[in-house]
């Protein structure tokens, strides 16, 4: 049995935040869950995917976040408790659904989990998705810790049902990827068979219906505001004339700071866990007889501005600060030390924290940037494309492991925006500059939203080449399935498999060729031909991600070695490929046999033919 299904009620477990959230959803009786994978939310999906094999839970990796939320909207309106989860930027993709779903509402609990990533540990931006609650007019819940996350997600379902509105559950990386001790509670039996009751005058979002539904939404929001004032996740701790308002992980840093500074009895805290709508009455009570309030929130000054407006309406003269050059930044994530200094500074307490050691005398340390894996087929494609396109061609790229190709020595990737954007931006560059343009996009990203860009490119007759890096999985986020994946290899029946070449051809692309990227010459020739073609051309480089192949037990049995007698130290292999299996010893190139995956790419480009295969015993 899956580890999150084991364990008696009241038993205590050391869990990752994302495991705790998955368990919380199971305890809540979730029956339907959809997602598009994205860090830092991925482990929630991975666990629910596993659990769905053993239970009645319906779980699906949808091909993008918008589709995931569309399914969720239907299931929640058919009476099933539904979880839809994604990383913060995924909500941008799903936003079109969300804005009108708030009008239509839900019959049963629908929780939209957004995993925000302050500091951008693994994201292209650090947008603050609390704004989505305000934009859509729906509640936002924010847990401060791993154990609270598990309980709070259950409440999120209840709240959604109380209001008949979807609820946003907003985590940050430090909740998703922290571990702590949680206590298991009973698992509610999920209702798994839904029924949809037709009601077009409330469900079909034509203007006449939407006008009515918008009013319902605002009424629900008002109801939520009342709930916010009495919700146990919104509380005041301590008393005094100094106050801190904080949310999410900042609450932990604030509590620890007050303790470290020895001022727990001098400063009170207001912690909104249901942070939209904000608890007006509680804020008023908090501000009354308070001289100074510090608002500690990562990201945007959302609570700060709100609290200031409450003070203004209520004519409360109290100094309210948060985002300020001497206090807290809108940039990146906080930590206990940042918060402690801000608290000490603002209220005028002494900060005697330990000083970091002096690091000014350290030598320059070699970096350890992430690199494409040894033998990654992307490296081969980049090499061939560079030979074919040269330095003048523009190379928009996309989101995935291959984004790393922009780093030296590979240096392929000139413009990366968001999921699926390589094709649209390629069209824009080609039209506006008249230059040769070649877009890179992965298989999962192609299915996610690149396919729309390709369709547009064909219709508008753009002159671009698209190289689809089809590595048969969603590698970057941990090898989740996508519509091109052979699900039988993962032990699943009842899935279909989409053939990228057939899709591309059916869109009317004039030049399509599928190549095996480890064959450098053929790949280069295909890309050269494609670039000569006037109009949209597509090259599909098809080769399983080496890491995924290894996990499936399909790794190669050969490794390559440098024959030191033949090697003349041109170093083309090292300098052009940058495969991490290379190392230099006694001024000679060597290949680490533990890392080599036998792709043979370096052997093909060595001008001395000095690299050859050896069998592993």
């Amino acid at each position: 049995m899956h580890k999150l299904l084991q364990g008696e009620p009241e038993s205590r477990h050391f869990l990752l935040g994302n495991e705790a959230i998955a368990r919380g959803a199971i305890e809540a009786g979730v029956a339907f869950a959809t997602t598009y994978p994205g860090t830092p939310s991925s482990e929630i999906s991975a666990n629910l995917f596993e659990i769905s094999k053993e239970t009645d839970l319906y779980f699906e990796y949808s091909s993008n976040e918008k589709i995931a939320l569309e399914l969720a909207s239907a299931s929640a309106n058919s009476g099933l408790r539904t979880l839809c989860l994604m990383k913060h930027v995924g909500v941008n993709v799903a936003a079109d659904v969300l804005m009108t779903l708030a009008y239509l509402g839900v019959k049963k609990g629908l929780v939209l989990l957004t995993a925000d990533d302050p500091f951008m540990f693994s994201s292209q931006n650090e947008q603050d998705n609390r704004y989505y609650g305000r934009l859509a007019g729906i509640p936002v819940l924010e847990p401060s810790s791993v154990d609270e996350a598990k309980e709070m997600i259950k409440y999120a379902f209840d709240l959604s049902e109380q209001l008949n509105e979807p609820v946003i559950f907003r985590t940050t990386t430090r909740v998703n990827h922290s571990s702590g001790i949680v206590e298991f509670k009973d698992i509610a039996a999920p209702q798994t068979k839904g029924e949809f009751i037709k009601d077009p005058m409330n469900y079909v979002s034509v203007p006449a219906v939407s006008r009515k539904r918008h009013k319902v939404l605002l009424d629900n929001l008002e109801k939520a505001a009342t709930i916010s004032d009495s919700c146990s996740y919104n509380f005041i701790k301590g008393k005094g004339s100094l106050g801190i308002i904080c949310n999410g992980v900042s609450y932990s840093y604030v509590c620890d700071s007050l303790k470290d500074l020895g001022i727990e009895d001098k400063v009170k805290i207001l912690r909104p866990g249901l942070s939209h709508p904000m608890p007006d009455a509680l804020i008023k009570e908090f501000l009354k007889d308070t001289e100074k309030v510090l608002v500690v929130e990562e990201g945007e000054p959302i609570m700060e501005e709100y609290v200031r407006s409450v003070a203004q309406t209520e004519k409360i003269a109290c100094e309210i600060k948060g985002k300020h050059k001497d206090l807290l930044s809108r940039l990146y994530e906080f930590n206990p030390s940042i918060v402690r200094s801000a608290v000490a500074n603002f209220f005028g307490f002494e900060n005697k924290s330990a000083k970091p050691v002096d690091t000014s005398d350290l030598p320059v340390l070699p970096n350890r940037p992430p690199n494409l894996c040894a033998g990654c087929s992307h490296r081969a494609v980049f090499y061939a494309a560079k030979k074919a396109g040269g330095a003048e061609t523009l190379y928009p790229s996309d989101i995935g492991c291959y984004t790393l190709g922009f780093l030296p020595p590979v240096g392929m990737g000139d413009f990366v925006l968001c999921m699926g954007a390589s094709i649209g931006t390629a069209c824009g560059f080609s039209k506006s500059t008249g230059k040769n343009t070649l877009a890179f996009i992965g298989d999962s990203t192609f299915f996610h939203s690149g396919i729309n860009g390709l369709l547009n490119a064909v219709f508008n007759n753009h002159d671009i080449t698209v190289v689809i890096l089809d590595n048969r999985t969603t590698a970057m986020t941990g090898h989740q399935p996508n519509p091109g994946v052979d699900m039988t290899e993962l032990g699943f029946e009842n899935y279909n498999q989409i053939d990228i070449e057939a899709v591309v051809k059916s869109l009317g692309v004039g030049y399509v060729q599928t190549v095996k990227p480890y064959n450098i010459r053929k790949t280069q020739e295909a890309i050269e031909e494609a670039m000569k073609f006037k109009g949209v051309s597509v090259v599909i480089a098809k080769e399983k991600c080496v890491l995924y192949a290894k996990q499936l037990g399909q790794g190669k049995k050969t490794v390559f070695q440098v024959n030191q007698d033949k090697c003349k130290n041109h170093r083309n292999c090292v300098n052009d490929l940058g495969c991490p299996a290379f190392y230099i010893e006694n001024d000679q190139v060597n290949i680490n046999p533990d890392m080599c995956t036998g792709c043979s790419v370096c052997a093909q480009i060595c001008p001395e033919n000095a690299i050859s295969p050896v069998k592993i015993k």
Partner: protein, 200 residues
């Protein structure tokens, strides 16, 4: 602050840092000690740095700011040195001294500092320093993959965290894969004995 112990573990992706952290977390749970842990593994599979922080005791935060680690446990000397900003003058450093070259220095584009220099700097920046070739002990125990256990052993010997040797051994036995348990325990004890032998 006194009842809180802050441990930072740094490693290169693939060195087994997260399992080591998890074992300490599980052991704390078993001992009834409050524990918070957080991990950052930006593309760890692709050779990046993996860092985890573990706070034993009455803390709510799960991360450790610069200058605030009580113990720095390093799986690789360069990474220990890179993380030294987490230390203050009272920090104890325990580290593997066997280098794992990053690609930049492996192909001669950057210079990996001499291990003697790394050792000198780490000693100068800490209250106590314990550095040894933990990879060698791991290989002797059966596999280089048990490096994490060797370092856990050394950590246990130094008696810096509120969890004893027996409990960590028990957790290793229960929570690591059956077929590796014996090797893991051997590696753990090798690390323990090495720390005992070297003293500080």
């Amino acid at each position: 602050m006194s009842n809180i112990t802050k441990l930072i573990i740094v490693a290169v992706g693939g060195q087994g840092n997260l399992l080591a952290s998890k074992i300490l977390g599980e052991a704390a749970l078993d001992a009834g000690i409050q524990v918070q842990m957080s991990e950052i593994h930006g593309m760890a599979q692709r050779g990046g740095v993996v860092e985890s922080s573990i706070l034993f005791g009455d803390a709510k935060s799960s991360i450790i700011a610069d200058g605030e680690a009580d113990i720095l446990l390093g799986f690789e000397p360069l990474e220990s040195l890179r993380a030294v900003a987490k230390c203050n003058k009272n920090t104890e450093i325990i580290t593997n001294m066997r280098p794992l070259q990053p690609f930049t220095s492996a192909i001669g584009l950057a210079k990996y500092p001499e291990t003697e220099e790394i050792e000198k700097l780490l000693k100068a920046k800490s209250k106590n320093f314990l550095g040894f070739d933990a990879t060698k002990l791991a290989i002797e125990a059966g596999t280089s993959l048990s490096l994490n256990m060797v370092l856990l052993g050394a950590l246990a010997q130094r008696n810096l965290i509120p969890i004893g040797k027996d409990l960590i051994e028990k957790t290793i036995r229960e929570k690591t894969k059956k077929q590796f348990a014996e090797t893991n325990l051997k590696a753990f004890n090798a690390g323990f004995d090495k720390a005992l032998e070297l003293g500080v």
